[in-house]
């Protein structure tokens, strides 16, 4: 069994970001008289940053345990998914820069009536995704084109063996025989 936690540096960075945002939005509301519509807007943004801080705290208190049987998140709101019950794998990439550099990945796993999400700041993120990708292949999950391309960027191939490859052609040069296999649902 392997245990994965979020890197301290990333968590501290997120706390600083959230705190900075909260300070800049709550500060003006509390310290200066403000017209109502602006106070409402600032309060809404402050609520977003507060939720972001809470989620960062959750991440800091969470560890992911991965073994041959499945994946578990320990800590507040802990959940578990067995690999043989995995029914969805979604891997997304986000970047705030226009050139899409310096972004981060987020994997979402669903199964057993639970969902577990992890970001690429998790120590051993690639290992977790590789395990999930293996399970997705075994379970013959239909993965989205986006997930397949992002997995490919990590050097992984997953999903139903006769499913589509990025670009739409099936592996081995065989054409998919229905639109569902082409991701056209």
């Amino acid at each position: 069994m392997t245990t994965h936690r979020y890197e301290r540096r990333a968590i501290v960075g997120d706390f600083i970001r959230g705190g900075f945002g909260l300070l800049l939005t709550v500060g003006p509301v509390l310290l200066m008289p403000m017209v109502t519509w602006l106070a409402v807007a600032f309060s809404a943004f402050a609520a977003l940053f507060a939720v972001y801080l809470f989620r960062t705290w959750l991440r800091s208190a969470t560890a992911l345990e991965v073994d041959d049987g499945g994946i578990r998140s320990t800590g507040p709101f802990g959940r578990a998914i067995r690999w043989d019950a995995l029914d969805a794998l979604d891997l997304r990439y986000f970047a705030t820069r226009r050139d899409k550099e310096g972004g981060w990945m987020q994997v979402k796993l669903r199964g057993d009536g639970a969902a577990i999400a992890a970001e690429s700041s998790l120590d051993g993120f690639e290992t977790v995704v590789a395990r999930a990708a293996d399970a997705a292949t075994r379970n013959r999950l239909a993965l989205s084109d986006v997930t397949r391309e992002n997995l490919k960027a990590l050097g992984l191939v997953a999903g139903a063996p006769d499913g589509p490859m990025p670009g739409g052609m099936a592996p081995g040069g065989t054409a998919p025989d229905n639109d569902d296999r082409m991701g056209m649902r």
């Binding site: 200066m32 602006l38 977003l48 986000f94 970047a95 550099e101 981060w104 990945m105 052609m169 056209m184």
Partner: protein
């Protein structure tokens, strides 16, 4: 996605601060200030200028303070919803602006909606019927729209709107509704007048958008997966809508952010020609008279509009296409 939204909002904060500083510096760049311009005007008209009174006014408006103090005063006011005082109109900026900001938003939103509603079906038709008579005809119309100066189109449409529909010349509402409280009749009058500037401002943007969507969709339609899907007997409409169109939409959506400033700056010229009560003409007047708080507030409004537009387009793109670009790195 939530984390993306928050981080993207955090990027907006330094962007807006930087824009506000640059805006303030640019407004201050011309020599002198509003009062200097006023003195020069009065002297040119042979009027006596009471220098003591001018000095008192300069102190009252804070124009005798260093630029950084004036900036902090203005920026602090913006945070409170106080946009400063218009020297020219002798009123708070919020009172001077009145409905102009709302009407500018309505006009720009209507223009963007027009651009998308028109260019989307035409772009798809042109791509799926490449080199057909329809494609050539619509391309010609698109190029004519691109090449026709906005002010000329504005004058032509204004004439025909008046002759055919009896719409009053100029403005965004019937003269009887100007400075009146908002009523259903006033809303209807605005809608009746809105189509002329929307068509005028939107025409050039529509032509460019049609070409872009056509090119993107043609690229996608020539890919192997589409050919395979067709060969396998997938209905043409399904083979078009489900995947190639979605992929072709990415640059289309990414353009929202770029389109907003173009539409806003384009609407300023049209607003002058059509006498529209939007921010454009007043901004130009404020810049000419160095009414710095009024000009600064307008410029900040346009900046916020642009930054929010970019945020919306980035959010839509992140939702539609969260793929990594190979060559880009994944940070931890």
């Amino acid at each position: 996605m939530f984390d993306y939204l928050v981080r993207r909002l955090l990027v907006m904060i330094p962007t807006l601060v930087a824009i506000s500083i640059i805006t303030f510096i640019i407004i201050q760049l011309p020599p002198g200030d509003y009062l200097s311009t006023l003195i020069a005007e009065m002297e040119s008209q042979g009027e006596n200028v009471d220098l003591a009174k001018i000095a008192a006014l300069r102190a009252q408006y804070g124009l005798d303070q260093p630029m950084w103090q004036q900036y902090l005063l203005w920026a602090g006011g913006l945070l409170r919803g106080d946009f400063g005082y218009s020297f020219e109109y002798q009123l708070p900026v919020a009172d001077v602006v009145g409905d102009r900001v709302l009407l500018t938003c309505v006009l720009n939103f209507g223009t963007i909606l027009f651009i998308y509603l028109v260019s989307f079906p035409i772009g798809i038709y042109s791509a799926t019927h490449q080199y057909s008579w329809g494609d050539y005809g619509l391309t010609l119309v698109g190029f004519i729209g691109l090449a026709t100066p906005n002010f000329l189109l504005a004058l032509v449409l204004l004439y025909f709107a008046n002759v055919w529909f009896g719409t009053s010349i100029g403005g965004l509402m019937d003269p009887s509704y100007i400075d009146q409280p908002w009523t259903w009749g006033k809303v209807v009058s605005v809608l009746e007048h809105l189509w002329v500037p929307v068509v005028v401002i939107g025409t050039s943007g529509t032509a460019a958008m049609i070409r872009r969507l056509r090119a993107n969709l043609l690229d996608e339609l020539q890919k192997q997966y589409v050919i395979t899907a067709r060969a396998k007997g997938l209905p043409p409409l399904r083979a078009l809508l489900k995947y190639p169109l979605r992929m072709a939409l990415n640059p289309f959506i990414a353009d929202i952010g770029n389109m907003l400033p173009q539409v806003v700056s384009g609407s300023a010229v049209v607003a002058m020609v059509l006498s529209l009560p939007t921010t454009g003409p007043m901004l130009i007047g404020a810049l000419q008279s160095q009414d710095m708080y009024l000009a600064g507030s307008f410029l900040m409004f346009l900046a916020v509009l642009t930054v929010v537009g970019m945020l919306l387009s980035d959010m839509a793109l992140a939702w539609l296409d969260p793929r990594i670009r190979l060559g880009g790195g994944t940070a931890r």
